[in-house]
């Protein structure tokens, strides 16, 4: 019980909204797509994001990733991805969401949060629900992990094909984000 109060007091101290900023060096967003001949994994370590936690536990979050920062380990494939996603016109993938987070004891069981919001991908904004877990540390930092599946066609992405076979429509995105108190 004391630990819960300690975390709460850290987060909600002074009943002022707390701002947590994402640490890009300690955060990763990965994507996974399937083709009949390949399973492709890529990641970005150039993620920027912030979370605003209100005293009542309401959390507003915004995460932005430059499309050209995704690296699948194959520069040619990455250049095709930039072409497919029209990275010149739509250089960022942006997520904005709102949820309600429960305080957890530092080092304790992560709290679940459902972030409801909108994903702006390829210039198409779609509503999205992102289940995530939040783990608060004693210093007020938080680790957020989760997964969502994005339909490429829903975002009007023309699926690339290889040897006359198209890429699967589902793009699985997993994230592991470290947030610290904003200075």
């Amino acid at each position: 019980m004391n630990a819960v109060f300690a975390a709460l007091s850290l987060l909600l101290a002074g009943a002022e909204p707390q701002v947590l900023a994402l640490d890009p060096a300690a955060s990763t967003v990965r994507f996974h797509v399937n083709h009949a001949l390949h399973k492709v994994d890529g990641s970005s370590r150039s993620v920027e994001g912030k979370a605003l936690i209100d005293p009542d536990g309401t959390v507003k979050t915004m995460v932005r990733i430059p499309v050209q920062s995704f690296d699948s380990g194959d520069s040619n494939r990455d250049s095709h991805m930039l072409e497919t996603l029209q990275a010149g016109k739509f250089p960022y993938v942006t997520f904005k969401g709102i949820g309600k987070v429960a305080a957890t004891s530092p080092g304790g069981k992560p709290a679940s949060v459902m972030l409801r919001g909108e994903l702006d991908f390829h210039g198409v904004k779609r509503p999205v629900e992102v289940p995530a877990t939040v783990e608060f540390a004693g210093d007020g930092s938080a680790r957020v992990q989760g997964k969502l599946v994005v339909s490429l066609e829903a975002h009007q992405v023309e699926r690339p094909s290889m040897l006359a076979m198209k890429l699967d429509d589902d793009c699985a995105i997993t994230f592991d984000l470290k947030l610290g108190r904003s200075k």
């Binding site: 536990g57 690296d71 990275a87």
Partner: protein, 223 residues
């Protein structure tokens, strides 16, 4: 008026009651009941106290401000042109792989016909091999030129990847193709000479090496 005598609790019952109260479980103690109500659940719906503003659930917020300009400027038109040219390169490449395989197979049959046994030379594969060889050489040149003229990849990385393997493989295949052309024509000119068989054998070996280099280059992208 006579006063009614007060009924005193017998002393043993009072002591038993006191002992039971002390031994009772913690939760039953009236003074500690509040402890159970201190559990907070921020995840659940929390009714806003009267007079307070309900939480703002609008997505009309921007926590990050204007983004920094991208590290590399991407020209979508150039990227489209690059993709179209490389798609064409890929399609021609599939045909080229088939042509190279056919040229090698027919070249082997031609070599076996000429030098494989003591049976009379029929020469029935020679024309086919020549046509296939020059067609392969021409398609190879066109396909390579398309790839070389495609706009450059704006996200070049230092890492060694599949495309590097493809390029190294195709560079070796290019050397093989040129050598094939030279040695093949030279072998043809040595008709009737003693060393023609050796030259033809060299041509054959280079042919297999070229095919292997192409197989590695194509395989690196496909698998």
């Amino acid at each position: 008026m006579t006063e009614r005598p007060r009924r005193a609790v017998p002393a043993p019952f009072a002591w038993i009651a006191l002992l039971l109260l002390i031994a009772a479980p913690r939760g039953a103690a009236a003074g500690l009941l509040l402890d159970e109500s201190l559990t907070l659940d921020l995840a659940g719906p929390t009714p806003a106290p009267s007079g307070t503003k309900p939480p703002d659930l609008s997505l009309d917020f921007d926590l990050l401000g204007k983004p920094a300009p991208p590290r590399v400027k991407i020209d979508d038109q150039a990227m489209k042109k690059r993709a179209d040219m490389l798609q064409l390169h890929q399609k021609i490449g599939i045909g080229l792989a088939a042509l190279t395989l056919a040229t090698t197979v027919v070249g082997q049959l031609n070599y076996s016909d000429k030098y494989g046994s003591n049976a009379p030379v029929t020469g029935k594969y020679e024309a086919t091999h020549t046509v296939l060889a020059f067609t392969t050489l021409g398609v190879f040149a066109v396909d390579g030129t398309i790839a070389l003229l495609a706009p450059a990849n704006p996200v070049k990385r230092d890492a060694y990847d599949r495309v590097t393997v493809h390029k190294v493989g195709m560079a070796l295949a290019t050397v093989g193709m040129v050598a094939q052309g030279v040695v093949g024509v030279y072998a043809d000119q040595q008709e009737g000479r003693v060393d023609q068989k050796q030259i033809a054998k060299t041509h054959l070996v280079i042919g297999y090496a070229t095919l292997a280099a192409m197989a590695v280059a194509v395989g690196a992208l496909v698998f």
